[in-house]
């Protein structure tokens, strides 16, 4: 914290008021209602609600569809993180390596970051359509690809659609991380170790750990939440619900099924998962301050 500060006064609260006001009405209030939904059940005719303790939670744990969505979410975020981080790192290392055209490469690789997931999904749709999709026909010739029926193939479809734009974000952060490494460290390592591949894994990569860690969390949250737009514009859960993330399933149960109790309980489960991830995120961010 700052050594020199203003004394607390009413003006401090004037500065806080706009954000706190918005958060209270549009964030805290809905969260409280989410908890209320999760512990109550509406009767069939919508006349009243009843407090049911953990029934909604027990119900979702008993529901095989919940665990199918759970499994898909875990696999999906793991694979997307792995693919986008490794390709992003590979490209960043090469871009950091070249002398000419560094900024041109940066520009040419940064822009997919700005495209909305839903737009990426609609585009992916065209490449995986049965009628004229190039990738559909390429994969179909290779192993009889058919995402309408095969769970594995629909995973492939969503992994490609979901990874494409996220490579950009990984590239930007890794490049910034590489450029932050001090010149003297690199020069010293060049004298000690002639093998550039070994040098990368023993010197450069450990120095990139904070960036890697941060990106893992960014990628996981992307796979959890931002992929909603991709799924809703591509498989919509096809073949039969195997490609729904937890967020997508909660939305469908609440919106299509009008089951707010179940949707609330599912949201709270997600909050716990995100809480778990965010604790790590904070440790990284706070750790970075001490490091600098």
């Amino acid at each position: 914290m700052k050594k020199v500060q203003f004394k607390s006064s009413y003006s401090q609260y004037l500065f806080l008021a706009p954000q706190l006001g918005i958060l209270l009405i549009f964030l805290y209030w809905p969260i409280i209602q989410t908890f209320r939904d999760a512990f109550t059940m509406q009767d069939a005719f919508g006349f009243g609600t009843q407090f049911v303790w953990f029934d909604n939670f027990l119900f979702i744990f008993d529901d095989p569809a919940y665990w199918i969505a759970f499994k898909f979410t875990i696999i999906y975020s793991f694979v997307i993180t792995l693919i986008t981080a490794s390709i992003g790192l590979l490209l960043a290392v090469q871009a950091n390596n070249v002398i000419h055209g560094k900024s041109a490469y940066k520009t040419l690789l940064i822009w997919p970051y700005a495209i909305a997931p839903a737009v990426v999904g609609v585009m992916a749709n065209y490449f995986f359509s049965e009628r004229f999709g190039l990738l559909y026909h390429l994969f179909n010739n290779l192993w009889g690809f058919n995402w309408y029926e095969s769970v594995f193939d629909s995973y492939i479809y969503l992994i490609i659609a979901g990874s494409w734009k996220q490579i950009s974000a990984n590239f930007i952060f890794f490049l910034a991380g590489l450029q932050a490494i001090q010149r003297s460290v690199i020069e010293a390592s060049m004298i000690d170790c002639k093998n550039s591949i070994r040098r990368f894994w023993t010197i450069t990569f450990p120095l990139l750990m904070p960036t890697t860690f941060f990106l893992i969390i960014i990628n996981i949250t992307y796979a959890f939440f931002d992929t909603f737009g991709i799924i809703d514009t591509t498989t919509i859960g096809a073949p039969s619900g195997e490609t729904r993330t937890l967020v997508y399933k909660a939305y469908m149960d609440g919106f299509r099924g009008l089951d707010l109790g179940s949707a609330g309980a599912q949201s709270i489960m997600m909050m716990f998962i995100v809480l778990f991830i965010t604790i790590f995120q904070f440790r990284y961010i706070e750790g970075r301050i001490h490091y600098n």
Partner: protein, 273 residues
């Protein structure tokens, strides 16, 4: 010599990376300049056709949607209003909140800090139905206010501004106090000019964030008059080439902003000096 070989290898890898990014978008663009007949008989195209003006003009001006009430032009206007609103509202409130957190001494500092930052844990997707009921109770469904404000209920920019303020030397406040600046004067005359890069970066970030929203506009706009571009993608009718053209146009504004303002964006987010 080895230097030449390794740098040749680097260029090659980067070239492939760029191809993976550009080719899909290029193919949709090239296909959007053909007629529907060509796409349906020959598939996606690699080279430009000659229906560019015809297709794009029709998409911009044609009244689509279930009730044939909205043009793509209106959707772009809505998206622009929403994205600008989100950017300005969240940046202003975050600047002020971060200032209050960093520059004031109070015994409630930790409590206030957590009250704001715990909100990062709960993205809109996790509280979407209750947020919708709040909007319905307040009669804000189908309004720009309803599109903008819940998306702006985010403390991510506050986190960035807080980090930035912490790097500002203490001497700045000391000298401002000697000049007799009060809390508002210090904020407006001293701190804001210093935060310019960070403000621009956050405006870009929140604009793209607001523009790219899909689920929330889908839920909160039952009237076609408030449809945005990204959600409209799923709603638009028309032939396949018109959809290609619509997809292409939908990605232009955020990509343009990121490319043109790239330097500011990267400078702010990574606090490069």
């Amino acid at each position: 010599m080895t230097r030449l070989i390794t740098s040749g290898f680097s260029h090659f890898i980067l070239f492939i990376g760029i191809l993976i990014m550009i080719v899909p978008v290029w193919m949709i663009f090239a296909s959007s300049t053909h007629t529907g007949l060509i796409i349906n008989t020959q598939g996606l195209q690699m080279f430009l056709g000659d229906s560019f003006y015809e297709n794009y003009l029709r998409v911009l001006l044609y009244k689509g949607g279930f009730f044939k009430e909205i043009t793509a032009l209106k959707m772009f206007l809505n998206s622009f209003i929403m994205a600008t609103g989100v950017a300005i509202l969240s940046v202003i409130t975050s600047l002020m909140a971060a200032y209050a957190l960093v520059y004031f001494r109070t015994k409630y500092a930790t409590l206030l800090f957590w009250m704001i930052f715990v909100t990062i844990l709960v993205p809109l997707e996790l509280r979407i139905f209750p947020t919708y009921s709040v909007m319905a109770e307040l009669n804000l469904v189908n309004s720009y206010f309803g599109l903008i404000v819940p998306i702006s209920a985010s403390a991510i920019a506050t986190l960035f501004f807080r980090q930035f303020y912490k790097t500002v030397p203490d001497e700045l406040l000391e000298s401002a106090k000697l000049d007799g600046a009060n809390t508002w004067r210090f904020f407006i005359d001293f701190l804001l000019p210093l935060s310019k890069t960070m403000i621009v970066a956050m405006l870009i970030f929140m604009f793209v964030f607001g523009y790219n929203q899909y689920l929330w506009p889908l839920l909160v706009t039952s009237s076609e008059q408030y449809w945005t571009v990204v959600m409209g993608l799923k709603m638009m009718s028309g032939s396949i080439v018109h959809r290609f053209a619509f997809v292409m146009m939908s990605m232009v504004p955020p990509i343009l902003i990121i490319i043109v303002l790239q330097k500011h964006f990267i400078k702010g987010v990574f606090q490069d000096k």
